[in-house]
C-alpha cells in the first residue's frame, strides 16, 4: 500500500512515543495493592512448581487468573530476576524495592506494545485519507489512535493503580480486527487465548458465540434474513470447536491432568463476595442500593418501619456485604437472570438480522454493557470493557457520554492527594481530545461547535460533573458533619455516574433496534 494513502499515518509512532513518555512519568506515582498482587504472582510462578500455583496461600492475594496469565507472569519473572531477585521470594510480602517498582512498571509499559500493535492493526482496516491535504482531525484512524492509545482509563488503571489491562485489551482488539476482516477462525483463536488470560472476558463471550455460530457455521440465510437451518456446515463447526478446545486444553490440560480443575475453578469464580464492590460500580445495583437506603431512611423517620442500628449503618459499602432493609436482597441468581435478559434483545438481533462484522461489534458492546450494569460484584474498572469496544464503533454521541461518565467513575480508585492533579488534568485532556476529535469528525457543518453533536440535556448532564467534583472533593470534605458520613461523596459519584451509564446504554439500544427496523422497512 502507498504510504501516503495508508490509514495509519505518520502520526502513529509520535503519538505512541508521547503516550509512552507520559506512562514513564507515572512510574513513581501511587500504586494500589494490585502491585503486591502481581509481585506475589511473579514470586509464586517463579519459585513454585506448577502443581502448587493454585494452592499457595502465603499471601492473601492468591492466584486467581486463568493459567495463561500465570504463564505470562512466569515468563516475566525471568526478566524480574535481572532487576531484583528478592522480589521473587514468596515470603517477601509487600516487598517493593526500587528495582521491583521499576521492573513491574516497565513490564506493564512493555506489555502495552501488544495493545499498540493491535490498534495499528485495527486502524489499517479503516478507510484511509481521501486526499493528501486532508486535515488530521477529519481522519477516523487518527481519532481512533488518539482515543485508544491515550485512553484515560487505561492510563489510570494500568499505570497508576497497576494492572495489565492494556495487554489484554490488545488481544481483544486483535481478535475483533480479525473478525472484521472476515478471518473468523483467527478471531476465535485470539478470543479463546484471551479467555485463558483473564476470565472477565466471558462477559462478551455470548456475542462471539452467537455471531460465529450464525455467520460462520450457518452459511446461508432465507430471503427475509432468518437463518436457514439446513445450511449448517459441520466442517466449520468442527474446525471452530477444535480450535477453541485446543486452546483450553493447552491452558487447563496440565492442571486437569494433576486433578486441580475444581481448585482452579473455585479460585476463578469466588461467589462469596457481595452484590457490590467496596465502592459501588456505577450500575443498576448502585441505584437499587440508594433507593433502598432512601426508603429505609424515610421509613424510619415516619415510623413506618423499625430499622435497627446495625443494618442502617451502611458505610458506603466499606463492609463487603450488607442486607437491603426495605427492598428484597439480591441473590446471585437474580443478577444472572437480569444480565441474560438485558443482552437477549442484542443477541436475538444479531441472530435474526446478521449484517456482518458491524453488527457483531454492536452486539459485543451491548453484552459488555449488560454484564456491567446487572452483573454480580462488578468492579468499577470493568467499565473499560464497555468503553474500549465502544470506541471502535462509530457512535460518537454514546461514546462521549459513556467515556466521560465511565472515566469519571474511576476517580475514586486514585484517592491520594498527590495524584489528584494528575488525574484531573489527564481527565480534562482526554475529554477535550474526545470532544475535539469526535466533534470535528461528526459535525454536520463547519461552523458547528465541537459539542454541538450532543443534545442539550446531555450537555447539561456532562457539565454537572464539574459541580459533582467540586461538591464531592472540595465542599463535602470541608463540612464538619461529613466525618460521620464518609460514604456520601462516593455514593453521590456512583449514583450520578450510574445514571449516565444507564442512559448511554438505552441510547445505544435505541440506535441498534431502530437500525433494524429501518432494515426491515427496506426489505418490505
Amino acid at each position: 500500500m502507498d504510504a501516503d494513502c495508508s490509514p495509519v499515518g505518520l502520526y502513529f509512532w509520535p503519538v505512541v512515543a508521547v503516550v509512552t513518555c507520559i506512562k514513564l512519568l507515572l512510574m513513581p506515582t501511587y500504586r494500589s495493592t494490585d502491585f503486591e498482587v502481581h509481585r506475589n504472582w511473579l514470586a509464586i510462578t517463579h519459585s513454585l512448581p506448577e502443581s502448587k500455583w493454585y494452592y499457595d496461600e502465603t499471601s492473601e492475594w492468591t492466584l486467581d487468573y486463568p493459567p495463561f496469565f500465570a504463564w505470562f507472569e512466569c515468563a516475566l519473572s525471568y526478566g524480574a530476576e535481572l532487576f531484583d531477585p528478592a522480589m521473587l521470594i514468596v515470603d517477601n510480602l509487600n516487598y517493593a524495592s526500587k528495582g521491583t517498582i521499576l521492573f513491574q512498571r516497565l513490564s506493564v509499559i512493555g506489555a502495552d506494545l501488544v495493545f499498540i500493535c493491535a490498534v495499528k492493526e485495527f486502524c489499517s482496516t479503516l478507510p484511509g485519507k481521501k486526499n493528501k491535504n486532508e486535515d488530521l482531525l477529519s481522519q477516523p484512524a487518527f481519532t481512533l489512535t488518539l482515543l485508544l492509545i491515550g485512553n484515560f482509563g487505561l492510563l489510570i488503571v494500568d499505570h497508576i493503580h497497576f494492572q495489565y489491562n492494556g495487554f489484554l485489551f490488545g488481544i481483544m482488539i486483535l481478535s475483533i480486527t480479525r473478525i472484521t476482516q472476515g478471518r473468523n477462525l483467527d478471531g476465535a483463536l485470539w478470543f479463546a487465548i484471551l479467555l485463558n488470560f483473564k476470565h472477565i472476558y466471558l462477559y462478551i463471550a455470548p456475542a462471539y458465540f452467537i455471531y460465529l455460530l450464525r455467520c460462520y457455521c450457518f452459511t446461508q440465510a432465507n430471503r427475509d434474513g432468518s437463518v436457514r437451518w439446513s445450511s449448517l456446515s459441520l466442517g466449520r463447526l468442527v474446525m471452530l470447536g477444535s480450535i477453541v478446545i485446543a486452546v483450553f486444553a493447552v491452558s487447563f490440560g496440565p492442571f486437569i491432568y494433576m486433578g486441580q480443575l475444581e481448585q482452579i475453578l473455585s479460585r476463578l469464580f469466588p461467589f462469596k463476595r457481595g452484590l457490590c464492590h467496596a465502592y459501588w460500580a456505577p450500575n443498576f445495583w448502585a441505584l437499587y442500593n440508594v433507593v433502598d437506603k432512601a426508603l429505609s431512611t424515610a421509613g424510619s423517620r415516619f415510623g413506618v418501619i423499625s430499622v435497627n442500628a446495625s443494618t442502617a449503618s451502611m458505610t458506603g459499602g466499606l463492609v463487603q456485604e450488607f442486607d437491603h432493609t426495605v427492598l428484597p436482597s439480591i441473590p446471585p441468581v437474580i443478577t444472572l437472570i437480569c444480565t441474560v435478559l438485558s443482552i437477549m434483545p442484542a443477541v436475538y438481533n444479531i441472530w435474526r438480522y446478521p449484517r456482518g462484522p458491524k453488527s457483531f461489534l454492536r452486539c459485543l458492546t451491548l453484552c459488555a454493557y449488560g454484564s456491567f450494569i446487572f452483573g454480580w460484584h462488578v468492579h468499577e474498572k470493568a467499565v473499560l470493557l464497555v468503553i474500549i469496544p465502544l470506541c471502535l464503533r462509530k457512535q460518537a454521541q454514546v461514546y462521549i457520554l459513556l467515556s466521560t461518565v465511565g472515566h469519571y467513575s474511576l476517580f475514586p480508585l486514585i484517592f491520594t492527594s498527590a495524584e489528584t492533579p494528575i488525574k484531573v488534568c489527564l481527565m480534562m485532556m482526554y475529554c477535550i481530545l474526545t470532544f475535539m476529535c469526535l466533534g470535528s469528525l461528526y459535525r454536520t457543518t463547519k461552523k458547528n461547535s465541537m459539542v454541538s453533536i450532543l443534545p442539550r440535556l446531555q450537555k447539561l448532564y456532562l457539565l454537572g460533573f464539574i459541580h459533582l467534583y467540586i461538591i464531592c472533593e472540595i465542599l463535602l470534605p470541608l463540612m464538619p458533619f461529613t466525618k460521620k458520613y464518609e460514604f456520601i461523596p462516593l455514593m453521590l459519584t456512583s449514583v450520578y455516574c450510574a445514571i449516565g451509564v444507564l442512559w448511554s446504554w438505552l441510547q445505544l439500544y435505541r440506535i441498534t433496534l431502530s437500525d433494524t427496523t429501518k432494515l426491515q422497512v427496506k426489505q418490505d
Binding site: 509520535p14 508521547v18 513518555c21 512519568l25 512510574m27 513513581p28 498527590a418
Partner: protein, 442 residues
C-alpha cells in the same frame, strides 16, 4: 535545596510575601523560622509543590500562550497553541521548578510579561513588569541590558521632545516600582545594605560546582583561582562581560527592532552566563528562556540549544534523583518539537536561503549537511554521557570526571551558539522586516 527554607527567609521578595502567610493559615509549624528547617512531611511537600504549580499557572503559562499568540500572527491558531505547548514542555525549567524545587517560573514569567509589553508597544507596563522580575530575583540582571538598550534606542528614534518625554516617563515608572518594592527596607540603612550583601555574594568563589561557563571550563586547563585574587577576578569577569556585550547592545541601540531585541536578549544572557562571576548551573535557564522565545521561528538551533542547556544541568539532576523525569521530558520535548515545528523549517531553513552575502560565505565554509550531522552526533554524545554519569562510577583518581566533561562539552557548544546568535542578530533577515516590506509593496 535553598528554596526549602526560602519560604521562611524570603524577605528579599516583597512580591511573594503572601505565601508564608497562607502557609501560616494551614499549619503554623511550617513557617517558624528556625524550627521549620528540614520539615518534609507529605502534606508540607504537597503544599510547597502546589505553590510552584499555582505560580506557574498564574504567571508563566499565560505569558507563554499570549507570547505565541501575539508573535505568530501569520500562523494558524492551532500552530500558535502547539508552539506554546512546546515551549512549556521545555525540560530544564520544568525539572528545576517542579523537581529540584525553585520558583523560577515567577521571575521568568514576569520577564516574559515584560517582553510581551515591549513587543506590543506597552513599554511602561513592560518596564514595570521587568522591575518586578528584577526585584523578585536579582538574576534577571542577565536580561537588563537589552531592555535598557531597546527602550533607550526607541526613545532616541523618536522626535527630540517626544523621546525625552518618553524617557522620563519610563524612568519614573522604574524608580517608583523600585521604591515600592524596597519600601520595607529603606528605613534602615544597615538593613538595606544587608539585603544587598545577600543578593550579591561577592565573597563566594568564581563559580560554584561544575558550571558550563567559560571560566570553569578554562580552569580545567589552567588553575585560574590561583592566578588572581578574588577581588581582581570580580573586576576581570565584569570587564569581559561588558566587552562582549558591546556588539549586540550597540547594534540594538541603533536598530531597536523587536527581532533584534529578542536576539539581544539571548546574546546578553548567554554572555552573562558564560563570562560573569559566581554563576550557578541553574542560571542557564535565563538564556534558555530567551531561546524559547525564538523557538517557533528558528526551531533547529533553538531546539539544539535547549537540549544542551538541560543536559548541562545533569549532575544537579542526578543529585536530586531526577534521572527518570530528565530522560522522559527530554524525549518528550525532542519528539514534540520535531513534530509540531514545521518539518521544512526544522531542516535548517537558515542555510537554505542564506540572507546575506557574508552569511553565504560563512555557509560555504561549514555546509548545512555538516551541521545537521553534528546535531545528531551531539544527541548521541548526550545519550552516552548521560548513561555514563548515571550508571558508571568515574575512575577513583578523577571523581569529578563526568561533570567536568559535561561542562566543558556544553561550554564549547554554548560558545558556538553565542556566535550563531550574534550572526542571527546582525545578519538574520527577520520576518518582521520582511512583512513590513511586503505590506509596503502592497
Amino acid at each position: 535545596m535553598p528554596d526549602k527554607y526560602g519560604n521562611v527567609l524570603r524577605f528579599r521578595l516583597p512580591t511573594t510575601h503572601c505565601l508564608p502567610q497562607l502557609a501560616d493559615r494551614i499549619n503554623p509549624e511550617w513557617v517558624e523560622l528556625h524550627k521549620s528547617r528540614g520539615i518534609e512531611t507529605y502534606a508540607h511537600k504537597l503544599y510547597m509543590r502546589s505553590t510552584v504549580l499555582v505560580a506557574d499557572l498564574l504567571i508563566y503559562i499565560p505569558a507563554v500562550v499570549l507570547y505565541c499568540y501575539i508573535t505568530l500572527k501569520d500562523k494558524t491558531p492551532s500552530y500558535r497553541l502547539l508552539s506554546s505547548a512546546v515551549i512549556l514542555l521545555y525540560p530544564g525549567l520544568m525539572l528545576i521548578d517542579h523537581g529540584h524545587f525553585q520558583y523560577n517560573c515567577i521571575s521568568l514569567g514576569l520577564t516574559l510579561w515584560a517582553i510581551i509589553g515591549m513587543l506590543s508597544g506597552r513599554e511602561l507596563l513592560g518596564s514595570m513588569a521587568f522591575v518586578l522580575a528584577l526585584n523578585y530575583k536579582q538574576m534577571e540582571l542577565y536580561h537588563a541590558l537589552p531592555f535598557f538598550c531597546f527602550l533607550f534606542g526607541r526613545c532616541v528614534q523618536l522626535e527630540k521632545k517626544a523621546g525625552l518625554w518618553k524617557l522620563i516617563k519610563i524612568g519614573c515608572v522604574v524608580i517608583v516600582t523600585f521604591l515600592l518594592c524596597w519600601l520595607p527596607f529603606l528605613g534602615d540603612f544597615n538593613l538595606a545594605s544587608q539585603v544587598l550583601h545577600r543578593l550579591f555574594p561577592f565573597s563566594r568563589g568564581l563559580f560554584e560546582d561544575k558550571v558550563a561557563n567559560f571560566w570553569c571550563s578554562l580552569s580545567v586547563v589552567v588553575k585560574l583561582k590561583n592566578i588572581f585574587t578574588q577581588q581582581s577576578w570580580v573586576f576581570m569577569t565584569f570587564y569581559f562581560t561588558m566587552i562582549f556585550h558591546f556588539p549586540s547592545c550597540i547594534h540594538l541601540l541603533f536598530k531597536p527592532s523587536t527581532e533584534n531585541f529578542k536576539a539581544a536578549l539571548v546574546n546578553s544572557s548567554l554572555i552573562f552566563f558564560l563570562f560573569s562571576y559566581q554563576v550557578h548551573e541553574k542560571s542557564i535557564l535565563l538564556p534558555a528562556l530567551s531561546v524559547c522565545l525564538l523557538l517557533p521561528r528558528k526551531p533547529f538551533f533553538c531546539l539544539w540549544f535547549l537540549i544542551m542547556s538541560t543536559f548541562s544541568m545533569l549532575p544537579l539532576l542526578i543529585k536530586d534523583g531526577l534521572v527518570l523525569p530528565y530522560t522522559v521530558t527530554m524525549l518528550l520535548f525532542l519528539i514534540t518539537t520535531c513534530y509540531v515545528m514545521d518539518t521544512n523549517t526544522w531542516k535548517l531553513a537558515v542555510f537554505e536561503n542564506p540572507p546575506t552575502e557574508i552569511l553565504k560565505s560563512v555557509m560555504t565554509f561549514s555546509s548545512a549537511g555538516f551541521i545537521q550531522a553534528w546535531f545528531y552526533v551531539c544527541l548521541i554524545e548526550i545519550g552516552i554521557l548521560s548513561w555514563l554519569s548515571v550508571f558508571k562510577a568515574p575512575p577513583p583518581k578523577y571523581p569529578d570526571l563526568w561533570p567536568v566533561i559535561i561542562s566543558v562539552f556544553c561550554c564549547l557548544h554554548f560558545l558556538a551558539f553565542l556566535v550563531y546568535f550574534h550572526i542571527e542578530q546582525f545578519f538574520g533577515e527577520h520576518c518582521e522586516t520582511l512583512k513590513a516590506k511586503g505590506t509596503k509593496s502592497d
